[in-house]
């Protein structure tokens, strides 16, 4: 396995080179924007972890060309995505569509926020008059220092 040593360290990207192919055929500005968005959403399969926009791999260039051609031919974003997933699977989508399986991915964080807010509110709403333990010498001293710092 050690022969597989590729690169190193945090923040290091394998393969800093890229080959870009300026696309032939003009898109109107709206199509161009969609093209840009889409190629930044699709994953290059042969690369480590890159979008097809960022990758220098041949396959990424092919896929960029396909996306370009499809958009020029009037395909919608969903049609382009379906074209790619039909061939390579959902794996290529960096933004997984909302399905039963991925629902937790999209909704989970908001459920967590709700849970967190609920817990926080419960903590706040329950003013417990707990007897403060007798302050020890040093906490008392610190308290005085704190108060002194307080504006």
């Amino acid at each position: 396995m050690r022969t597989l040593i590729l690169a190193a360290l945090l923040f290091v990207f394998a393969g800093g080179a890229f080959a870009l192919t300026p696309q032939e055929g003009a898109l109107d500005p709206e199509q161009e924007a969609r093209y840009r968005t889409l190629i930044h959403e699709l994953r290059c399969l042969v690369c480590q972890n890159q979008t097809i926009a960022d990758s220098n791999a041949d396959l990424a260039a092919d896929l960029r060309r396909e996306v370009h051609t499809h958009i020029a031919a009037g395909a919608t974003d969903d049609e382009v995505r379906r074209y790619v997933t039909d061939r390579y699977g959902e794996f290529v989508l960096y933004k997984p569509p909302m399905t039963a399986r991925t629902a937790v991915l999209w909704i989970g964080p908001f459920l967590l926020v709700a849970l967190g807010v609920l817990i926080a509110l419960r903590m706040l709403r329950r003013p417990r008059a707990v007897a403060t333990p007798a302050p020890t010498a040093d906490t008392e001293r610190l308290r005085r220092l704190l108060d002194e710092e307080e504006r």
Binding site: L10, F18, G89, R101, R141
Partner: protein, 660 residues
């Protein structure tokens, strides 16, 4: 001989680490002060040994000693000296040694600065750090020894990965590791608190400067990493939500939450068990990052040498350290007594919500990062989760937090009237909304909901932060007296919040108004982005010390006036056969112009047409400038006079009393 010395020093460090972990703990259990006090000396000796070991490895790199396998794999005789020295942490084994150096360095610092802490706390903190170092030493010595010899001895090294031959590498990883490892101190403090049952304002006051220091290093490390990626990769991107980036960002988010909850614990004696939990989790996430990077369970562009055996070891280590910490937490935390009460309408109430959003964001990043692994493990299919997901979720979760930040200064501790507190902010809120909506139109000549939303938040954070200082200053008779009266910690907070505002502004603009163009240009031809014209004047061939470069010449004009000449490069490093892109950037605070070389259209004709990638990125600098401001804010906060006072205050307390 020198590598053997370094290797031997590591074994000695392991022995000392065991003493450092075990003797003080037993001493604590037996109430034996002598045994407890060994911790300080042990951590100092260990630091010395690790320094020796580290110097030995550096010396092997300096001498081009290719009989050391690690040197042979990551260096080359033509490599400039500065990169030979930074190549020490250029791959797995050496970066672990750097980790260890930092860890023992932190322990050393604790032993020096915390002499005045109660003996039980300080010795337990050092014992916990010693235990962590034992794990790392075992990991290195058993699976990843950087001093292993190569046989037969290669005549030439395989060279450092060209991506790492950049000034960014020299400072980014040490900064990042300082941050990662620094959270081990917060972790150790939490362990000491759980063992002794001492979890009060004084504890928080001791732990706070350490945590802030770790946080500021992590902040700088991430900022530098982003800046480095931007310059070295040629994709014009500065954050990719790659698993390895996420691995550094999660401890940052939790560490940020921790800094705020520590404030509550220190000032009000509340949220103790939550603060302890965050201390444990922040460090756990650092360890988790180490696991993710080095085990190969996730695909990352930052490929480290992956080895399942190492993965199993780190996993076991993670289980022991974090599992032990959390188990201790489960047993001891319920016994902590809560002092006082908490109101929604108070600073601590708002900080509680700050924690909710920060921690949920960290959980979101963790879940998004692990989601593909989870689905794969459950055999539910292969998925990818990437920037489009994270960007959207991050914005939705962080926007409420940015709103909260505005109240940081005006809402007082204990009990406040929210309506009254908001009164001085009404005007500022109006300013933020108007200015935020207007800014995209004024500066970019076009509107964008996303940019406006970001700008409103950014302006809100900025104006409220400035107002907070202004309010303090105004309360004093003169400006000078006012400025002096603001404690350093408050300056730190304000500066960090301003950093957040600046960062938000940068992100909002750089990501919405970013223009990216792939063009094909022959010598003398040009392409436009808006009013900027990029004229390509061909390439020249340049020989570097260990690379060959095709250096492009691009002259940029704005409204017909030449403003910059950019020289992006395409470099070939023959020793590894790898091709690198060095982007060229012209920047001012309002915009970056970025040019990266693609390839010659005809592969064999460097003088023909080239593919180039051009970017216009408004306010890009603000993204990193924001990080730098946070870093300086952290420095101010960590060096506040209060902490030095606190140490002196507790110094006079007899150790025996505290141990009781």
């Amino acid at each position: 001989m020198i590598p053997e010395l370094g290797h031997f020093a590591l074994w000695l460090a392991l022995a000392v680490g065991l003493v450092q972990a075990i003797v003080p703990t037993v001493g604590y259990a037996r109430r034996n002060l002598r045994w407890m006090s060994i911790a300080g000396a042990a951590s100092q000796v260990q630091f010395l040994l690790v320094v020796v070991s580290y110097l030995c490895l550096s010396e092997a790199f300096r001498q081009n000693d290719f009989s050391v396998a690690y040197v042979a794999a990551n260096s080359h005789s033509a490599l400039p000296l500065i990169y030979r020295l930074s190549a020490v942490w250029g791959a797995h084994e050496g970066s672990l040694l750097l980790w260890l150096l930092m860890l023992s360095g932190w322990a050393f610092a604790v032993s020096i600065f915390n002499r005045r802490l109660p003996a039980d706390i300080s010795s337990l903190v050092l014992a916990a750090l010693g235990a962590v170092s034992v794990g790392f030493l075992l990991f290195m010595l058993l699976t990843s020894n950087p001093f292993d010899r190569a046989f037969p001895i290669p005549l030439e090294g395989r060279d450092l990965n060209p991506l790492l031959q950049d000034p960014g590498l020299i400072i980014h990883p040490p900064m990042l590791y300082m941050g990662y490892v620094g959270f081990s101190v917060a972790f150790a403090f939490a362990i000491a608190a759980l063992v002794t049952g001492r979890m009060d304002s004084a504890w928080a006051r001791w732990a706070r400067p350490w945590t802030t220091t770790a946080w500021l290093f992590l902040t700088m490390g991430i900022t530098l990493g982003s800046w480095w990626a931007y310059n070295e990769l040629g994709w014009g991107g500065w954050w990719f939500w790659d698993p390895v980036e996420n691995a550094s960002f999660m401890p940052w988010l939790v560490g940020t939450a921790l800094i705020h909850s520590l404030a509550v614990t220190e000032k009000r004696g509340l949220l103790q068990s939550w603060t302890l939990l965050l201390s444990i989790v922040a460090f756990s996430l650092s360890l988790l990052g180490t696991f993710l990077v080095r085990s190969g369970v996730l695909v990352s562009v930052h490929a480290f040498a992956t080895d399942p055996a190492r993965g199993v070891f780190i996993l076991a280590f993670l289980g022991v350290v974090v599992g032990g910490g959390l188990l201790l937490y489960a047993i001891r935390a319920p016994k902590l007594v809560r002092q006082g009460e908490m109101q929604l309408a108070s600073r601590e109430g708002l900080l509680l919500f700050n924690n909710v959003f920060l921690v949920v964001t960290a959980a979101m990043v963790l879940f998004g990062t692990l989601f593909p692994l989870l689905m794969d493990a459950l055999d539910l299919g292969k998925y990818s989760v990437g920037p489009p997901y994270f960007n959207r979720m991050f914005f939705l979760l962080m926007a409420p937090l940015a709103v909260l930040v505005g109240f940081a200064g005006v809402v007082s501790w204990k009990r406040a009237n929210l309506v009254e507190s908001f009164k001085p902010l009404r005007l500022l809120a109006l300013v933020a909304v108007v200015l935020g909506i207007a800014l995209p139109f004024v500066t970019q000549g076009q509107g964008s909901v996303a940019a406006s939303a970001g700008a409103v938040l950014a302006v809100w954070v900025l104006v409220t932060s400035v107002q907070e200082v202004w309010r303090r200053v105004r309360a004093k008779p003169s400006l000078a007296a006012g400025l002096r009266s603001v404690p350093r910690g408050a300056w730190g907070m304000t500066l960090a919040h301003i950093g957040l505002g600046v960062w938000t502004m940068g992100v909002a603009f750089a990501s919405t108004f970013n223009v990216e163009k792939d063009v094909r240009l022959g010598s003398g031809q040009s392409a436009d982005i808006g009013r900027y014209e990029f004229r390509f004047d061909g390439v020249t061939h340049v020989e570097g010390p260990n690379f060959k470069s095709d250096t492009g010449h691009v002259v940029v004009s704005y409204r017909g006036r030449e403003i910059a000449t950019l020289n992006p490069e395409k470099r070939l490093y023959p020793s590894q056969g790898s091709v690198m892109t060095e982007a060229a950037v012209d920047h001012n605070p309002l915009r970056d112009l970025y040019v990266a070389m693609g390839e010659p259209i005809d592969k064999n004709d460097a003088n023909g047409d080239w593919a180039l990638r051009l970017y216009y990125k408004p306010m890009m600098r603000l993204v990193w400038f924001g990080g730098v401001l946070m870093f300086f804010g952290g420095i101010l906060a960590a060096t506040d006079r209060r902490y030095r006072l606190a140490q002196r205050a507790s110094a006079s307390i007899p150790d025996g009393a505290a141990a009781a």
